[in-house]
Assembly symmetry: C2
Homo-oligomer: 360 residues x 2
């Protein structure tokens, strides 16, 4: 087991990464204020891991209640969130109770947002079971639900007390979802670590074969990057925005197609290619670097072109993005491999051309 720390003063918390952590209630116990726990999971992850997690907790004489949500990004909305509130109230969970989110990014986002709002905020713990959640969404305290007019538009910053990433759970993850998680792993290389990007080029096949040593390194390295960036900028006033590389385009793809058509990581991959293309057009990225990025995403099993929604639709969807400021879109672009910057310099015509070039 490896342990990292997210340094946020009184809100600091550990990330444990390792095999078999679902069977380690001793890691959870020190974080609890009372002996009552509510577990939020979904209909895919629940049958696989809920009983195992709960059994361990009950052996420690904890009172555990749970709710099973429908699966998928399309359900990341108020009605599903209300299922959590219904359960918490029905089971008389209190301000001092703790909520555990057991599942992927959608479960973590909704469980975390429910914890942020229930009685104006209760403690929560992330137990991510997908690669995407383990390397990205479970760390950093961003929680949210979607709105028909935009992704993650309604949410809160609410840090977990603990993240428990059991790498064994990845063995039951569909290959498509594993690839989607790799998009965020590759993103860390792109934005701040050319060495890690080169390591990924060497090890992408080992990762897709779930080789434990490669997997552990990729997850730890990703969490480390995320933890550092979050610690420096908890509420995204500055540097944290770099984590959104590919996300402005990617959210437009997800929203434009309807939630659940493309996985989040797939949108990020195609979106990162659009950002790279825009960077190339600004003269910031060479053709060879561009080719390396495309090749790595492809080898990871990810799309490198966005769907043909039409440029006007992309621009319209992006205008709703949270990265808009004073009516101007801010983009995360690349000034080389491993060097992302936030800019609002790109002219709309250039943005349109980049989208057009990376759609089909």
């Amino acid at each position: 087991m490896h342990t990292l720390n997210v340094a946020l003063g009184v809100r600091s918390y550990p990330i444990h990464i390792g095999r078999g952590l679902l069977d380690r209630p001793d890691l959870i116990l020190p974080q609890l204020r009372t002996r009552k726990l509510a577990v939020v999971t979904n209909e895919v992850v629940g049958p696989l891991y809920l009983e195992r997690l709960c059994a361990g907790l009950r052996r420690e004489k904890l009172e555990v209640v749970s709710v099973i949500l429908p699966d998928g990004e399309a359900h990341k909305e108020w009605r599903t969130l209300n299922l959590i509130f219904d359960m918490l109230l029905r089971e008389r969970c209190e301000r001092s109770s703790t909520l555990i989110a057991l599942g992927g990014g959608v479960v973590g986002d909704m469980g975390g947002f429910a914890a942020a709002c229930y009685q104006r905020g209760i403690d929560f713990i992330q137990v991510p079971t997908t690669l995407l959640a383990q390397v990205d969404s479970s760390v950093g305290g961003k929680t949210a639900i979607n709105h028909p007019l935009g992704k993650n538009m309604i949410g809160a910053f609410h840090q977990p007390r603990l993240v428990l990433a059991d790498t064994e759970t990845l063995s039951t993850l569909p290959a498509r979802e594993f690839s989607a998680g790799l998009a965020e792993v590759i993103k860390y290389g792109l934005i701040r670590d050319a060495g890690f990007f080169a390591w990924l080029e060497q090890n992408i096949d080992a990762l897709r074969a779930l080789e434990p040593a490669a997997l552990a390194w990729a997850i730890e390295r990703s969490c480390h990057a995320k933890a550092e960036i979050v610690a420096a900028d908890e509420t995204e006033q500055g540097e944290r925005a770099l984590l959104n590389l590919g996300h402005t385009f990617g959210h437009a793809i997800e929203t434009g197609l309807g939630y659940g058509q493309w996985l989040h990581g797939e949108g990020v991959a195609a979106g990162a290619m659009m950002a790279a293309e825009l960077s190339r057009r600004l003269g910031w990225l060479g053709d060879e670097e561009m080719a390396r990025i495309e090749r790595l995403f492809e080898r990871a099993g990810l799309p490198v072109f966005g769907p043909a929604l039409g440029v006007p639709r992309y621009l319209e969807l992006m205008a709703h993005d949270k990265k808009v400021e004073a009516g101007k879109l801010r983009f995360v672009l690349l000034r080389g491999l491993g060097r992302a910057v936030v800019t609002s310099e790109a002219a709309t015509a250039e943005v349109a051309a980049a989208i057009e070039a990376r759609c089909r």
Copy 2:
């Protein structure tokens, strides 16, 4: 105009109290990060004051959008909240936009909660137009919506940037709602200021006649008490709980009757009488003090007995309260006029007897 400060470090903010403040956009301007404002109001307050507020802001070349919510506590729920999100997204409000809540406690609670969640948090300003909102709910950053199983169960702590209390708006307030606001004013006397309680006994008729000097003093004194308590305990870990005198019983009344039957302040008055009765039974409050409290609430036009829901129903509803900890109800009780304490000492039989004595 009087100005108080709520001292919360980087989240500190001023409360301005005075006549005609709706026409003072100059007080709002310094708080804005961009020139875009979204005003949230309701169908009762909107026709009276929305245009006046917006006209002043537009004269300052601000872009103002607005939404008008249905009126009443029964609408303090997710569907109504979504009307705010729909407007914010449709009008392309950004992270740096500011939301103004123009109205009573329900508008403030919903506007504040929408601001807390929209894009994970935008700035907001309270422009309270009821006595209840001016002396209590607009100050302190508590925001929430109701759930069928409990009042204010879903919410956030989100401090406003500014509170603008225009006392002229009270002239259009129905007498019943004015009385409901007086319940919270009397509460400040009860929990920490016997001198203010005595002043209220002298001036209750002047207040109900809306005499400006008495009104200004009562509002300022109340805001001062609230600001001090909130500054000492922003997220209700300790002293702030004293503000909940009468609220555990009062919420049970509101929820038990269905939201909107009794006004919040009416529930607080009857609830405070139950708390006083329980205090008397514990030997903490004398018969004469009890009589003075009852008399003042009556003269303020408030109920001093709760509805006959039956003791078991009261106990059941109270078990859902946020003041429950480790399964035990905590009450705010009185150890004399002007001296409230938080306790979990009261036995259920005593609680039941106090409820029974103060219902009819």
